[in-house]
Symmetry: C2
Subunit: 189 residues, 2 copies
Amino acid sequence: MALRHAVLAALLEEELSGYQLAKAFDLGVANFWHALPQQLYAELARLEADGLVSGREVVQDTRPNKRLFTVTDAGLAELERFATSADKPSFIRDDLLVKVQAADHLDAGELIARLEERAEVADAKIELFGGLLRRMRGDRSEEEFLRDGDRIGPYLTCRRGLAFEEGNRDWCRWSAAILRERRAAHAER
Amino acid sequence: MALRHAVLAALLEEELSGYQLAKAFDLGVANFWHALPQQLYAELARLEADGLVSGREVVQDTRPNKRLFTVTDAGLAELERFATSADKPSFIRDDLLVKVQAADHLDAGELIARLEERAEVADAKIELFGGLLRRMRGDRSEEEFLRDGDRIGPYLTCRRGLAFEEGNRDWCRWSAAILRERRAAHAER
DNA sequence: ATACCCATGTAAGACGTTACATGATTTG
DNA sequence: CAAATCATGTAACGTCTTACATGGGTAT
């Protein structure tokens, strides 16, 4: 039941509509949680029914109307309660790792292709996260920002996202290189 | 539908029972996928019904009998098909990141405690994975093993697990240190 | 013209988690 | 002698994904 808390955490930053939330939780951007639009609309409805967020209608001329949501006091209390609970260890569930696990029994060329693809996805995310971090820092150095800046939470999670994707990229390229060398050595014989 | 492929990949290494598989996919050990025992028993039944694995009963005196499973030719073909498919990008879903995202609105002491807890979990995993890697290498250097060793797949995925946990540990300690400094600076005023 | 963006959902089905059930054997 | 390990499941419930539905406005 952490999706609700992820939504609450996202809404602490700024008032958002379901649609805007959906973009923030999208695969391409999500740096601390991922969810689909349908989940978010449903969760927002539940959160509102439980009084943890409150929505206000914003009428728009040229675009469809939207509802912007804010965290209520009860919502903040719920987040505080959540923060004191022990969190379940997070685990890996990644198609690519499954494929590499079976590397010895599969076509190396295919695997190398998948690894390169993933490395490129990681490159894109690294650039994205780097930009987000720069925007949050503004014209301050990182040291300065970490000392005095407000909204440190999103900065820290984005830093984790960045390091995670750098890890992905490095591991993918390293693994691909090893598989290539082994394939070459095998072909020589 | 990647659990089935994760099971197939695990069974390529060696013939295993549901119980042994469950241990391999456990939270503490899982380096390329995670699943609960109940899922694995159910998936093994489905895989057998579909002819992708075959089980053989092993009668034991002192322990309950068990069924050991092997990947069939059809199972290997299914894995090969899976390896050629584009994999969906993997995403983060971690309680701890949600909590840190909300850092600016929560008690710093609590967060620091969670971060330290997680860092210690990571430490334990790092040791575990380090040991697994050493066992796989045997008396060879890593370079040598990566060149000639067999069963390179599990080695590569375990390397990813290790790097991931090192990333976790470093980020947790770094974040905790920043939150501590900010708390101290705040208390001074 | 075609496609994408804004904006919000419903419904069905697949997948994952929690709780329960059983029972002998080995380890501390 | 209590707890953990070996060994295999069933049942209920909760969460996530996939498919469908609608409709105006803006960019190429």
